[in-house]
Subunit: 256 residues, 2 copies
DNA sequence: AGGTGTGAAAGCGTTCACAGCG
DNA sequence: CGCTGTGAACGCTTTCACACCT
């Protein structure tokens, strides 16, 4: 484990201590812990047990303790974790001690909503610029920011020190936008377009696909239905193909 | 190699056949394969190899083959997969042969965008109703649908056979909305509110938290920065991390 | 006593590599 | 041959259970 070191400690933005090499699964949960901790802090809690924090974050306590142990974090045996200290520590590890600038590309339906989404701002980010390729949208003001043409990306990226790019364009434009973001030095991209993007090594890419989430739920609905529909028959694990499958007729030819 | 099903068998009329019990990780990728397959179909491909489909879907071919093998799916050795057949099969497994009705609760910033999001409609769903608790929003028309008051949920849920609920309210309202959805029989919920929800066993719950995605990216930005900031020693060995994911996803360079 | 930190075990998911079919 | 389907190996994640600290 590491030695005593005060994480978000004031000053010293330059000499960054090496970050522990956290498992991805742990990294993905830290933001959830952080949110729970902020709630606890607001409600006056000064310490919290692994059990308490775990339930606030929707995980079990063993997992939480293991996750926090990777940070080399300090709980106090017999007591729990210091809420404020843990907040500092997680915010430090997540790199939230600096408010990173986000560029949002594509101000259509979804982009509009993202541009106005409070959660980005309230949880450590700054939407620094909006872009679109559609001249009709350039100049529009959303939430205090003016939509710029994508061609201005190079200039603005430098001025604003853009750290993260968010793609909310149609799928057809997404790869090109990603390329442009990479070209101006952005190394983290969040993609909302329903398509696979390829980026060079060293660039982090995450994807959110809203329809996919629904389709996963649909699978479970389907499975639940097929289970309850079955009497306890020998469970012939037969999968039938549609062909002339009953139910509603498919209206396929879906696509984008 | 147990009694493996032979899918092709057209369904027995009426009774829904039991679905194979797929690994969650596989389920989560099927929608991606489906999207890639639709693209291939539109561009005139009739068959595709595991290699080809895998790269279109952003995974490696071993994973793809393993996933499809869980469906008991047919490829033809030496040839590949029949695109149209595979589309049918995946759509069947995901339960997309019926267009499920979705209720969206909360038409604020994000809810507005979701209500107008084409992807839901084009990929197998029907937004059947919009709800909000704010009287000022009730009556507003979005994308051809009128916003109703949440109190009407019971009546509307029955009329429209709501299968999936989407929560896009502030965190403070989300648990109450979830309870109401569960009460009217909804067994699948997609939550966009940044909070932990609790639902009874048997109800499927998925969560999308946009700020969390950014925070995960922020961590990797922070880590990259701390590595490059490191004095020479060992630093270079670490940046390139051989054999593997220095980054979030095995989303490697895929040629397109 | 109370609760964290952590080896060890169990469980999943991914990757490898190749048998075997078309 | 080419390519699928799949056992077996591997690595990551979760869970367990308890030593150890306060």
């Amino acid at each position: 484990m590491s030695q005593h070191r005060h994480p978000g400690a004031p000053g010293r933005a330059g000499a960054v201590p090496a970050l522990p090499d956290l498992p991805e699964a742990t990294v993905a949960r830290l933001p959830e812990y952080l949110r729970a901790l902020h709630n606890l802090a607001e409600t006056g809690h000064e310490t919290v047990s692994s059990e308490g924090l775990a339930s606030a974050a929707g995980v079990n306590s063993a997992k939480l303790r293991k996750d926090l142990s990777h940070l080399g974090s300090y709980g106090t045996r017999g007591v729990g974790y210091d809420v404020a200290l843990l907040i500092d520590q997680i915010e430090y590890v997540l790199g939230l001690t600096q408010r990173r600038a986000v560029a949002l590309v594509g101000v259509g339906n979804l982009g509009h909503a993202l541009a106005g989404y409070d959660g980005f701002v309230s949880r450590g980010f700054r939407i620094a610029a909006l872009f679109d390729a559609d001249a009709a949208r350039v100049g529009e003001e959303i939430n205090g920011l003016v939509v710029r043409h994508i061609d201005e990306l190079p200039r603005v990226a430098a001025e604003e020190a853009i750290a993260i790019g968010v793609i909310a364009t149609p799928a057809s434009a997404a790869q090109s936008v990603a390329d442009q973001l990479v070209a101006v030095g952005v190394t983290s991209i969040l993609n909302f377009a329903p398509c696979v993007l390829s980026v060079p090594e060293g660039v982090d890419l995450r994807k959110v696909d809203l329809a996919i989430e629904l389709q996963i739920l649909s699978f479970h609905e389907h499975r639940k239905a097929s289970l309850t529909a079955l009497p306890a028959t020998g469970g012939s694990a037969l999968t039938a193909l549609p062909g002339g499958l009953a139910v509603t007729d498919p209206q396929e030819a879906i696509g984008t």
